[in-house]
């Protein structure tokens, strides 16, 4: 009751001071009036009476001050005095205090860092007005043949999700004209270009883009509807704020100047607002270009032709992302209901008839695709750059939550110990008349006094953890400039504070319930805890064991999975090979004639035994983006298969030691319609390598042109191209034959060395710089590095689970030791008596061991169940291991048994050394 009023008054004093002030004014004014009225009745004049009344009151301001002091200091003073008492007691308990504060600070710090990252990578909305009204359009389902994101990842950066999220340009314009639920529909797509020998990112945007987002220019104007008029024409460009700052020093005179993008001169008309980084996290574009732009004709390799962008005519070239802003009071559901009839009409009337070759069921599925409106407040959340970060963060969130739980459980155990130790003091206080509230406040002050320094200490820990998070796969790409977030700190620390307070209250409940008399008696009987308290602590220690068992088992399966992956043969001989990428030089795409020039220069370097190249970087997990969606074999009933494709140098297989199974390898001069496929593709069509050679495959083709007749000339052994754990059907085409042909993207070169490859890295850089000063090279590294990075997520998961398993096991050991040591100390009288009565020492030790064995067995059982659930949830991360791996479980149980026995050893020894005489003498 009193506490309620105290809190109410504190709140009122803190937040509604003026209410108190008004009441005070009214009270004092009233007093003066009444006093003066009385004096007037006694014969004074009104003026005199008022003056006398005022003097009698003795200083209005002093009275007010004293009221204010009383109201403010009451609750605060009590808290301060309780806290300072707690600090004093704690500073005497140095080990306890240090361990607890460090444990809590660690738990909080790790969580602050992880939550900061999560907030910035996964939760923070775009810096635009009313981001909640933005929706992004997707359309899952079968795609039109030829509708593909490029099979060559470097041709278009994979910043923005799979084929479900892209539409064709004609579809965009159709929808834009007919739509009603949006204030506007915008299209945008990333592209890359060479900017002064550096790879830069730009965005194609429709005229509606900036108005849909609701952005205002930092300088000049942004692109608008007037820039959208004619497909194929573009003259304006908008700079990103960061690019304007770094390249032009923030010069306002930049407006009106000309910028060359892929050899097209464009006039700078304005600068986008600061802090706006487009629709995908971590994308840092330099420029925004009109989506109507067309680049000068390039002579393209036929594989690349169908996916060339921008393309304003083809309905089977999907490349634009769509974004709408809902009109006021229109919901996403309503908008979807309004958009779908439009979309279906276009699909069935315009696009489905173009699918002449498709089976009827396929066409039907195509016609009935739906348009799904996803929340767009956070931009392109399906971005491929985000998903590794999302995976890592989800794991980290779960684990760091578990760490916080562990820390809190440990602190709970420690506090329980403290509370038991203080039970005598509290009993004395209670019998001297302290109310239950008073005792609670005394007990609560202690966890609070521990949590506050822990919270302060957690911030530097969080800062370190955030820096450390750069090793987490996906994080550097997704959050290159992540900072500690105030909101995250607030959440993590207040969760920990509340937990600490709740945990602090647990013993209060027990202690304040016991009658002072009985508590005093127990105090006299040398701290025997109540059964309930003992059970609570045993349960905590058992939970520790379970958690450590679970984490150890999880560590076991992840470590085994990592070992399995590390043992995998990628199918290519990567010893002493270094690789690097050459982005398209001179603003255009890589031309065929650049490749022989580079190859020749590299081959003549000392210590080089072979040079080869491909379009897709080998063993690069995030470059697995593009596939030909459907490849069919002529004269075969087998279903179409998603196939990855690459254009390679003729000596590619030979250089990497890939075995030829049938047919022939590429020759120095090769026809473009000849391809080599891998064993996996052959198996898909149920043929032997020898049988498939000479057959024709059907590929998607550019709009309007007939499918290419492509013939298989050879079959090679499977090799891993993207993720090492994944072998997919592949098709290779040779590219260097016709000079002047371009590929629309970067080329990856591989150099085999006869000396340690590390020595070659600089030599390669110098050679290329000598050859062409404008040529940029990226991702220069040994293939050893490449494969290490390829399995970085697995290494991270195994490493993180190991670290946390070790931490959990140490904490569990400490917790067990605490419980046992305490119970031995408590029972020393009983033990002394037993020894005096002739109990053998083995039985005394057995007593302790029985206690610990029970906790260990229960803990292991629960731990195995928990590990199984975690393992199942993480199945996608596992390779060649089951969620319930017997080896991992047995090994983890063995470790738990060892730790348990270790924790029991000292207390058991102490129990067997209890001197019966000294114990009995105390009686």
């Amino acid at each position: 009751m009193t506490l309620y009023y105290r809190i109410r008054s504190l709140v009122r004093w803190l937040f509604r001071r003026d209410e108190i002030e008004r009441a005070l004014d009214a009270d004092l004014e009233d007093s003066i009036e009444r006093s003066a009225a009385e004096k007037m009745r006694a014969g004074m004049s009104e003026k005199e009476a008022r003056r006398a009344a005022r003097i009698e009151l003795g200083g209005v301001e002093q009275t007010k001050d004293r009221v204010r002091e009383t109201l403010a200091l009451g609750p605060i003073e009590k808290l301060v005095s309780d806290l300072s008492y707690a600090f004093r007691t704690l500073s005497r308990q140095k080990t306890f205090t240090t361990v607890t504060v460090l444990t809590l600070a660690l738990g909080m710090g790790v969580n602050v860092a992880i939550l900061s990252l999560t907030e910035q990578v996964l939760l923070r909305p775009l810096p635009v007005p009313e981001p909640d009204r933005l929706v992004s359009l997707t359309s899952p389902g079968p795609v039109m043949v030829g509708m593909a994101s490029s099979p060559y990842p470097s041709a278009r950066p994979s910043l923005s999700g799979g084929p479900d999220t892209v539409f064709s340009y004609p579809m965009f314009r159709d929808l834009e004209r007919a739509q009603t639920p949006f204030t506007g529909l915008a299209a945008h797509t990333f592209f890359q270009y060479s900017d002064k020998a550096r790879l830069a990112t730009g965005v194609f945007v429709s005229g509606s883009y900036f108005s849909v987002l609701g952005l205002q220019p930092a300088l000049g104007r942004l692109l608008g509807p007037q820039d959208d008029a004619v497909d194929g024409e573009a003259e304006s460009i908008v700079l990103s704020h960061a690019y304007w700052q770094s390249e032009f020093g923030g010069d306002p005179a930049v407006v009106g100047r000309t910028l060359l993008v892929k050899n097209v001169p464009l006039t700078i008309v304005g600068v986008a607002p600061p802090g706006f980084n487009v629709m995908a996290v971590s994308a840092r574009p330099s420029v925004f270009v009109q989506i109507t732009i067309l680049f000068p004709d390039e002579k393209l390799h036929p594989f690349v032709q169908p996916v060339l962008v921008p393309n304003h005519d083809a309905r089977n070239n999907s490349w634009v992302h769509l974004l709408g802003r809902l009109k006021q009071a229109v919901t996403r559901e309503q908008a979807a209901a309004a958009m779908n009839p439009l979309y279906r009409a276009i699909l069935s009337e315009v696009e489905a008839p173009m699918l002449a070759a498709a089976y009827e069921p396929q066409r039907e599925a195509f016609r009935t695709r739906t348009l799904v409106l996803e929340p767009g407040a956070r931009g392109q959340t399906r971005s491929e750059i985000l998903s590794p970060a999302r995976n890592s963060l989800e794991l980290l969130l779960a684990v760091s939550g578990a760490v916080l739980l562990l820390c809190c459980a440990n602190v709970a155990g420690l506090l329980q110990l403290r509370a038991t130790a203080r039970s005598g003091e509290l009993a004395v206080r209670a019998s001297l008349g302290a109310t239950r509230m008073r005792l609670a406040s005394l007990l609560l002050a202690e966890p609070l006094a521990l949590a506050v320094p822990a919270a302060l200490l957690s911030l530097p820990i969080a800062w370190l953890a955030l820096r450390g998070a750069r090793i987490v796969p996906g994080i550097p790409a997704a959050a290159p400039d992540a900072t500690l977030s105030g909101a995250a700190a607030l959440v993590a620390i207040s969760v920990a504070l509340v937990t600490a307070l709740i945990v602090g209250l647990l013993p209060v409940r027990d202690l304040t319930r016991t009658k002072p008399g009985s508590a005093l008696q127990t105090y006299g009987a040398r701290h025997t805890t109540t059964k309930k308290v003992a059970r609570f602590r045993t349960a905590l220690a058992t939970a520790h064991v379970a958690l450590s068992m679970a984490l150890l088992a999880v560590m076991g399966i992840f470590t085994q999975s990592l070992a399995n992956i590390a043992r995998l043969d990628p199918g290519v001989n990567i010893d002493s090979v270094i690789m690097f990428q050459v982005p398209p030089p001179n603003g255009l795409s890589t031309h065929g004639d650049d490749i022989p020039r580079l190859t020749e220069a590299l081959e003549t370097m000392p210590g080089v035994s072979g040079v080869t190249w491909s379009m897709r970087p080998l063993l690069s997990p995030d470059a697995s983006g593009g596939r030909f969606p459907q490849l069919t074999l002529e004269g075969s009933d087998a279903e179409a298969v998603r196939t990855s494709a690459d254009i390679v140098s003729p000596n590619f297989f030979q250089t990497f030691g890939v075995e030829l199974l049938a047919g022939r390898e590429f020759m120095g001069t090769e026809r473009l319609e000849h391809v080599i496929v891998n064993r996996r593709l052959t198996e898909h069509f149920g043929l032997s390598p020898a049988e498939i050679v000479g057959r024709n495959v059907r590929l998607p083709a550019a709009a309007g042109s007939r499918p290419l007749p492509v013939q298989i000339v050879g079959v090679v052994e499977d090799m891993t191209y993207g993720k090492v754990t994944n072998i997919e059907p592949q098709m290779f085409n040779v590219g260097a034959a016709e000079a002047g042909l371009s590929y629309g993207g970067a080329t990856t070169f591989y150099v085999r060395a006869t000396r340690p490859p590390d020595d070659l890295l600089n030599a390669v850089r110098e050679t290329i710089a000598r050859l062409d000063t404008t040529m940029a090279i990226t991702n220069l590294r040994t293939m050893e590095q490449q494969i290490r990075e390829n399995i970085a997520p697995e290494r991270f998961v195994a490493g993180a689970s190991t670290a946390f398993a070790v931490l959990a096991t140490v904490l569990a050991g400490l917790g067990l030791y605490g419980v046992l040591a305490y119970s031995v100390a408590q029972r020393s009288r009983e033990i002394g008596l037993r020894v005096a009565l002739g109990a053998p020492l083995t039985r005394i030790r057995g007593m302790v061991l029985r206690q610990v064995t029970r906790m260990a067995v229960i803990g292991v059982v629960f731990g195995v169940v928990a590990a199984w659930f975690v393992g199942r949830a993480a199945r996608s991360l596992l390779f060649g291991v089951e969620a319930a791996d017997p080896l991992a479980i047995v090994a983890a149980a063995a470790v738990v048994a060892a730790v348990t026995l270790g924790a029991a050893y000292l207390p058991a020894r102490r129990a067997s050394r209890v001197d019966p005489m000294s114990v009995l003498r105390d009686e």
Partner: protein, 117 residues
């Protein structure tokens, strides 16, 4: 912190520590009263033995209200200004009854000691 005036005046005494709350609650038990009235009533009831200045009265009143023992009723005063009348709450009444019992035992004990000595 609280500066206690000396018992210099022959007829006046300082209110014993801890009893001011008891006195205030007793006074407002009969009927709700404003601050000035409480001070007047206290002087009248003790025939001038106890006098209380506003600097002590109001902090005590506000603390009692904060602790839920008193509540405030706003009523228009004679010349139509809002005046704050303090009244005993149910909780205050219980507290007062206990305090009275305690007080009776204390005074009985002290009297017994004084008489026995």
């Amino acid at each position: 912190m609280t500066r206690q005036p000396k018992d210099s005046d022959a007829g006046k005494l300082n209110i014993p520590q801890g009893t001011l709350d008891l006195l205030i609650m007793t006074i407002v038990r009969r009927e709700p009263l404003h601050g000035y009235g409480i001070a007047q009533r206290l002087t009248a009831l003790t025939r001038g033995t106890f006098q209380i200045n506003p600097g002590s009265l109001f902090p005590a009143l506000y603390a009692l209200e904060r602790d839920g023992k008193l509540r405030v009723e706003e009523r228009p005063s004679e010349n139509n200004r809002p005046a704050r009348y303090y009244a005993l709450t149910a909780f205050g009444r219980k507290e007062l009854e206990q305090a009275e019992k305690r007080w009776e035992r204390v005074t009985a004990a002290i009297t017994a000691v004084l008489q026995g000595a």
